[in-house]
């Protein structure tokens, strides 16, 4: 028995899911349900007790739980249904979804779906550190959950591999809880996350940082006792003779996030191999009609404010779809990632309304010009892979694209 009276079903109640659900309601959808697998709404915001959220969205400096609470309250006010401890275990291209909870199995066929499952962390095995498999190795996000939600500390002397934001945030958090952070080891020649975190998480506490280094071995059979760290060359291979040991009882890895698209694949959604997320258009709709996506499941963001902004669109358009009010496409333009651009989201746009494009560069550069075809140009002082770029393109600008063109290139070149 399949329930068909849901207009928009949102999978995930993190910042993306909440924003999408709220906007779906505001756009007129009557029955909006969020399916959340955890015990409380808010997704990972629940464990992000630090501040820095909402700087642009609310013009305030909020902690993760505060940011989440604003959205949760708004969703409740608008009577969005949030089903907790409910896991979507199957999704078909016909938008039939199966959801499991302790109350039983639910089969739903909503009119529109928003995928907002977020991402998971890359593991140590995926970056090939050989050695033993002792206890005392986990990802920074898992450690964050233990420290900020469960009330436990996984070790007292830690080495952090990877200088992504989660790793740096945990360096500070653990220091404040009495853990000795012995080093942050980063394979690239620059810090992977935001400058603000570099200063306030590592600099403030004098935590040693080893750039162009990586962990090459793990010691300790039952519990980790230390790591070997080596310098790497231009090809990121360990340089012989540079190995040294750091004793520790905990190794945290912060080596990247991967959008979680197992469900999307089941539904036949086409995935962009560079972003790891669905290929979407300006409506945040995937190639499967009526399946939209927003947030980290589409591409890994740095700022939750952008996640909310991007997902609002997915919610609004999902509602329009459910109500049969989707505007027909006028003219499709594909966006191609050109020089020094790693990816562009959305990957394809319509010459029908204003659109915000999100991009990441491949390499850090200073004094560059960001260009989108011949219709948009912006000079930037500095660009880094860890800081996402945004460009708002108006309908007028889109209309300037010559008639026979169906693909424009986004590039980031050094200014003359």
């Amino acid at each position: 028995m399949i329930s068909k009276d849901i207009d928009v079903a949102v999978i995930g109640s993190g910042p993306a899911g909440l924003a999408a659900a709220i906007n779906a309601k505001e756009a007129g959808a009557e029955n909006v349900t969020i399916l959340e697998r955890a015990e409380q709404p808010g997704g990972l915001l629940h464990q992000c007790v630090h501040n820095g959220y909402g700087l642009t969205y609310f013009n305030e400096d909020l902690t993760g739980p505060e940011y989440a609470r604003r959205f949760i309250e708004k969703a409740m006010d608008l009577r969005v249904d949030i089903e907790l401890e409910s896991m979507v275990i199957d999704l078909s291209p016909d938008k039939e979804l199966v959801c499991s909870s302790k109350y039983g199995l639910k089969k739903l066929q909503p009119r529109a779906i928003v995928l907002a499952m977020g991402c998971r962390e890359r593991t140590r095995q995926q970056i090939l550190i050989p050695g033993f498999n002792p206890s005392g190795i986990m990802t920074a996000g898992t450690a964050q959950r233990y420290v900020n939600c469960e009330g436990y500390i996984p070790g007292k002397e830690v080495v952090i591999l990877g200088s992504g934001d989660v790793g740096m945030i945990m360096a500070r958090r653990l220091t404040l809880e009495g853990v000795k952070v012995k080093a942050v080891v980063e394979i690239l020649p620059y810090i992977g996350g935001l400058i603000r975190n570099e200063v306030q998480c590592l600099g403030d506490f004098n935590i040693p940082v080893y750039l162009s280094h990586t962990v090459t071995n793990i010691h300790g059979q039952q519990r980790i006792e230390g790591v070997s760290v080596s310098k790497v060359n231009k090809n990121f291979e360990p340089i012989e003779g540079t190995e040294f040991r750091i004793d520790c009882d905990l190794l945290l890895t912060s080596v990247g996030l991967i959008p979680e698209n197992e469900l999307s694949l089941k539904a036949g959604v086409k995935i962009d191999p560079v972003t790891g997320g669905p290929i979407v258009n300006e409506n945040m709709e995937s190639n499967v009609s009526g399946i939209f996506a927003g947030g980290n499941v589409v591409h890994v963001n740095d700022l939750v404010d952008n996640v909310s902004l991007e997902s609002q669109i997915s919610g609004t358009r999902a509602a329009e779809y459910a109500l049969g009010k989707t505007l027909p496409s006028v003219r499709r333009i594909n966006l191609k990632a050109g020089e020094n651009i790693r990816y562009v989201v959305p990957q394809t746009i319509d010459v029908g309304k204003d659109v915000t494009i999100y991009m990441r560069v491949r390499e850090p550069r200073e004094k560059v010009r960001l260009g989108i075809g011949s219709i948009y140009s912006e000079n930037l002082r500095v660009v880094k892979p860890s800081e996402m770029l945004k460009a708002k393109i108006t309908l007028e600008q889109l209309r300037e694209i010559k008639g026979e063109v169906s693909e424009i290139e986004v590039s980031c070149v050094k200014r003359g």
């Binding site: 199995l105 498999n133 500390i153």
Partner: protein, 514 residues
């Protein structure tokens, strides 16, 4: 000492004590449980911690499956004949293989027959293929279960294989089956427990006193009195042997890397390999859950019995060779790697040692050589026979229950059965491990059946085996374990003793050292 290592009941006595909770000890326990024989199984760590863990779980007899065995042979006993018709081990292996089928069904163990497929991609490999084929005729019926297979058919039965394949050898698929080794051990032990066998884990044996009458096994948790002792301690067999009596042999250990690949890679269906060259063999093995295992038979000698580590060179070698067999295999697809140990005795590396200690007629050593899975039931049968001949009274139980059912697998059930399961126990509706779709009900059942650590929960019900390797479900498994066992979370172990997952409580660490 953690709460889990509580002291033993002072009056623990048995007719037979088995030392070692791997596949052999488990098989012996289950066989003995059919008789009115008080049996106790003593395990140093948690069940299945040693060799029975770092293995593919391919159980085979004859045919191309023997290739694996011959690879080890070429490293540790070069020059010995491929097929020795006098070998006791081979007799036990044949018996054991066929004994498995009754047990697989009675114990509800998931199994699947697998074909052995050897492919050639160049001239040199074609020659090796021909040599293997010729050799089989020389050896006789033992090997003759295979035929040549041409390119088109290879690509049909193994679509993920390289397009450079020219031809290959394949067998009928009746001589090899694949099961998950921990599941085999747990199933045997659970059934043994159902029928009265006592299991004692976390109980390292520190000494054995034997002076004529009953023997006393001293463990870290206390003493156990036993009439007979069976030493099935695997990689520690010689240490235990010396405690029980005179021992003129030693265990030598070899290690090889095993790599688990992501499920999303194109599936491997058969036990696939290039023609093995001694010192450079590699196989790809399917699992029943959809991951591919890459195993490089680079048997390197190890001197540390706990050395289950991997190293960069062997992983690189394995992946590069595997890539030649199936181009979709790359470093990016690895989700886990570990070392697998193989033990042989230095008196005769080609054979088992199943004999009583010369100075202790009630102490039976049981140190077997690979293949362990296939031999295990045959070895158990042989062991019972020897015990019986040495005075163990063996009267069959009238109420022996041979059946054991597996932990329900939510992920495999139809929606109808899922609903039924959730209605009976709502915890089966709460998915905890999202990578593998494992529910709280399964985790609780694993704990009820004996799991005490995050690792043993993983081995019994699969929670944490997916691509995020327990990143998401880990904290939840820890808290479920704490709840079900009634102990604080900071005492929950990752695996054996000394591996607490979260050793400290919030606010417990001093800030003043900063």
């Amino acid at each position: 000492m953690s709460i889990l290592q509580e002291p033993l009941n002072k009056s623990l006595e048995a007719d037979v004590a088995i030392i070692g909770g791997g596949i052999v000890g488990a098989c012996i326990a289950r066989e003995l449980s059919q008789y009115k024989v008080e049996t106790v199984l003593i395990e140093k760590y948690e069940l299945n911690a040693g060799q029975s863990r770092g293995t593919l779980g391919l159980t085979y007899w004859g045919g191309l499956g023997e290739v694996g065995s011959s690879i080890l042979k070429s490293v540790i006993a070069p020059g010995s004949p491929l097929y020795d018709p006098e070998s006791i081990r081979l007799r036990l292996q044949e018996k054991g293989y066929y004994m498995w089928f009754q047990r697989l069904l009675e114990l509800d163990i998931d199994y699947k027959f697998v074909k052995n497929l050897i492919i050639a991609t160049n001239e040199e490999e074609l020659k090796l293929l021909d040599n293997m084929h010729k050799l089989s005729f020389e050896i006789g019926p033992f090997y003759m279960d295979h035929r040549y297979i041409e390119r088109d058919e290879i690509l049909e039965i193994e679509p993920a294989v390289t397009k450079d394949v020219i031809r290959g050898l394949v067998d009928s698929g009746r001589l090899t089956f694949r099961a998950f080794p921990p599941e085999m051990t747990y199933a045997l032990v659970e059934n043994a427990q159902q029928n009265g066998v006592e299991i004692v884990e976390d109980a390292e044996v520190t000494g054995i006193t034997h002076n004529g009458g009953a023997q006393v096994i001293h463990t870290r948790r206390g003493d156990i009195k036993a009439n007979f002792v069976v030493n099935a301690a695997g990689r520690f067999a010689d240490e235990i042997a010396r405690m029980g009596g005179h021992c003129d042999w030693k265990i030598e250990l070899f290690k090889c890397p095993l790599i688990v690949m992501d499920k999303s890679l194109p599936r491997i269906n058969n036990f696939t390999m290039l023609p093995p060259i001694p010192g450079r063999p590699l196989v790809l093995s399917p699992t029943n859950e959809g991951n591919t295992f890459v195993v490089a038979g680079l048997y390197t000698k190890v001197y540390d019995r706990h050395d289950l580590s991997t190293d960069r060179e062997s992983i690189n070698y394995a992946i590069n060779e595997a890539h030649r067999i199936s181009p979709s295999i790359t470093h990016q697809g690895i989700i886990r790697s570990f070392g697998g140990l193989r033990a042989v005795n230095n008196r005769n590396p080609e054979e088992n040692i199943i004999e009583f200690a010369p100075d202790n007629p009630k102490f039976l050593n049981c140190a077997i050589r690979l293949p362990g899975m296939a031999q295990a039931p045959g070895v158990a049968d042989y062991v019972l026979d020897r015990l019986g001949n040495h005075g163990l009274e063996m009267v069959k139980k009238s109420d022996f229950n041979p059946y054991r059912t597996k932990i329900p697998r939510f992920r495999e059930l139809s929606d109808f059965y899922r609903r039924q399961l959730i209605e009976k126990d709502p915890r089966y509706g709460h998915v905890v491990c999202r990578c593998e779709t494992i529910t709280e009900g399964e985790i609780c059942e694993a704990i009820r059946r004996g799991a005490r650590s995050v690792d043993s929960v993983k081995m019994r019900c699969r929670a944490g085996m997916g691509r995020c390797q327990g990143g998401f479900c880990g904290p939840r498994v820890v808290s479920i374990l704490a709840r079900e066992l009634g102990i604080p979370e900071e005492q929950i172990r990752q695996k054996e003793e000394g591996t607490f997952v979260v050793p400290y409580r919030s606010k417990e660490l001093s800030l003043r050292s900063q």
